[in-house]
Amino acid sequence: MQEVIKKYVIKEYVEDDTEVTNDTPLISGGIVDSFSMVSLKRFLENKYQISIPDDKATPEAFDSVNKICMLVKEYLK
């Protein structure tokens, strides 16, 4: 899951050769802005066939690939 999400983030949100690890701050690091979070959430919902409530899709919960994985796993159960 981490690799899939990381690959997607790099493909969609990184313009140059900035390195993205599983712990790279995505929101606070300015890689994904708050408006783009909506498309990232939509990707996760489509990919994993889940529904993430809006109040759980916070900048903190989306701030790294690892944090996103934790969030997704919560709704995969």
Binding site: P25, G30, I31, S36, S39, R42, E60
Partner: protein, 567 residues
């Protein structure tokens, strides 16, 4: 005591000469914003005072005294001059909120060129439209944003230089590209400031309208007079303030009050170049002991959403004065801030074209939560009838906000679009395109836009631009874009889309279209929701009836549908 002291007394005795006198400016003399924001502050004995404290997303901090700002802006000015940039050439700042943006802005103005700041999240299409309209000579950017420019370089023969402020040493650059490292550049202690005068062009900011392409709003160096005084009286900037304007200088608040208002008043300002998180913002206030905080309703509502527990983790007692801009500040947000910070956010109303605050709440004046406040001294504003363009005689009537032209920061024209500029005036009034009412105590109450422009998070998005981008997607046959209500951003973009034969609506297609618009235009313009429909409501002449879709989103009456096709 606040700088404005008594609003009513200021109204009685107002003259813009107050600002001219404080700035030692005499009509006809040289007036250069770059000089006023750096050299002059040094000459006032504040050369060693911190002017800019910058913090990046990784926590790295950079500090610049006013003397550093003076020398570094000289250095950039000299670099641009040596490159062959001429006065009044357009130099685009396509940067994140890094020090080069703030200092580069002053450097461009010092050498007489026009600063054209553009939001660094713009996609290549948004970028090209604005650069092409301005026939931009040079772009200052970072290596992370350079690929977007390179994509469109071939279409811009007029673009002579792509200046990269953090290019990798040793990595070859393409034709027209040049590296410039501010930290390593030879410092220029003395630069002959270009002798701009009151009407010399200074800044070109782009703003969106309902129809047509974005318009380049041309400002002049004399705008300083309004920006200095409104920053002093409304934002109440005082000598010992630590000021934080959260706006990005890719938009007008970030230049008028994130650069010009702050530096011309000689305060210490802090900049946080990191994505939003409530924890990080409160930590920033605590760390730098921020006293004056100028932010936006979207941010305030995001902080409200984050809850109050997080606030208790930080010492925010340094906060002295709070203000807001970008979209109407709802009364709940004002009441909330008073409860949690002990101070209300004071709403301020203005726009790219006005260049400075027009209507506002002021320190010491009674606050009516949810109200825009009252006109700034020297500003004649009222509400007029939308058809006769005459002011209402009674209070409480909803009409168009109208402002008597003539304040210093008023835009001078739309770049290469004089016709649209002229349409902004009716019966001797400038019309910002917003509706409001005035109560019996003279307070303005915002009602909404008078057009289809979408105000999302305080930024205007043109439905026309988004619709045009949507039509470039392989699957899209037709589209209509409207505002959809949103708690945090007030409005977000919603698109209604019909598909070409052979394409079937799906969640993956929905995401593909969203990302397509995001990359082409910007994240702000990306539809947050796409609704696939069979046909769009149209008039018999084939014009899409956006207002029907808008009414549906807002739960409003659809109104007259007599011209609707197939009704």
């Amino acid at each position: 005591m606040s700088n404005i002291k008594s609003y009513h007394e200021r109204i009685e005795n107002f003259d813009w000469k107050i600002a001219e006198k404080e700035l030692d400016y005499e009509p006809g003399n040289v007036i250069n914003i770059g000089w006023y924001c750096s050299d002059r502050i040094c000459q006032m004995g504040k050369a060693d005072k911190p002017g800019l404290i910058w913090e990046g997303s990784t926590g790295v901090e950079k500090r610049y005294t006013y003397n550093d700002i003076r020398i570094n802006s000289n250095t950039i000015a000299q670099f641009l001059k040596d490159l062959g940039i001429n006065p009044e050439d357009r130099v685009c700042l396509f940067l994140d909120k890094i020090p080069e943006l703030y200092i580069g802005f002053l450097g461009i103005l010092k050498m007489g060129a026009i600063a054209q700041p553009l939001f660094s999240a713009f996609g290549d299409e948004s970028l090209f439209i604005r650069l092409d309209n301005a026939q931009t000579t040079a772009i200052i950017t970072q290596k992370k944003h350079a690929p977007k420019v390179r994509k469109i370089m071939d279409k811009m023969p007029y673009l002579k230089h792509l200046i990269i402020v953090d290019a990798d040493p040793g990595k070859p650059l393409a034709d027209r590209e040049v590296a410039f490292d501010l930290a390593k550049a030879g410092k220029v202690d003395h630069f002959d400031i270009y002798p701009t005068t009151a009407e010399s062009p200074s800044v070109l900011h782009y703003t969106s309208g309902t129809t047509g392409q974005p318009k380049g709003v041309k400002h002049v160096h004399y705008s300083l007079i309004s920006q200095y005084l409104t920053a002093k009286w409304v934002l109440d900037l005082q000598d010992d303030d630590i000021y934080w304007c959260t706006a990005d200088p890719g938009w007008v608040t970030g230049t008028s009050y994130g650069i010009i208002g702050a530096f011309s008043n000689g305060v210490t300002q802090c900049v946080l170049d990191a994505g939003f998180s409530a924890d990080n913002w409160y930590r920033f206030i605590q760390k730098h002991r921020i006293t004056m905080w100028y932010s936006a309703p979207t941010a305030i509502r995001s902080l409200m959403k984050a809850g109050e527990e997080v606030i208790k983790k930080y010492d925010l007692s340094s906060l002295r004065h709070l203000a807001s801009v970008g979209e109407p500040l709802n009364s709940e947000a004002v009441i909330w801030s008073e409860r949690v910070f002990g101070k209300p956010f004071l709403d301020t109303y203005w726009q790219t074209e006005t260049g400075s605050i027009m209507i506002s709440n002021y320190p010491g004046m009674k606050i009516k939560p949810g109200s825009m406040g009252k006109p700034f001294p020297g500003i004649t504003a009222t509400v007029i009838h939308p058809e006769t363009y005459e002011p209402f005689n009674e209070t409480g009537k909803i009409g168009l906000i109208a402002i008597r032209p003539g304040w210093p920061a008023m835009m001078r024209t739309y770049w290469k679009n004089e016709e649209t500029y002229r349409k902004k005036f009716q019966n001797g009034w400038y019309l910002p395109g917003d509706r409001s009412s005035i109560d019996n105590e003279g307070y303005f109450w915002f009602v909404g836009r008078d057009d289809d422009v979408i105000n999302t998070g305080g930024h205007l998005v043109s439905p026309f631009e988004v619709e045009s981008a949507l039509l470039e997607h392989l699957a899209v046959a037709e589209s209509a874009v409207v505002a959809k209500p949103d708690f945090v951003n007030m409005e977000v973009v919603k698109a209604f889309v019909t598909l070409k034969p052979g394409f079937i609506a799906s969640k993956d297609l929905d995401l593909d279209i969203m990302n397509f618009v995001r990359k082409k235009l910007s994240p702000l313009a990306m539809p947050q929701e796409i609704e696939f429909i069979d046909t769009l409501p149209k008039t018999r002449s084939g014009k899409i009836m956006r207002r029907i879709l808008h009414a549906k989103e807002w739960g409003e009456e659809i109104g007259d549908t007599s011209t609707l096709e197939n009704d």
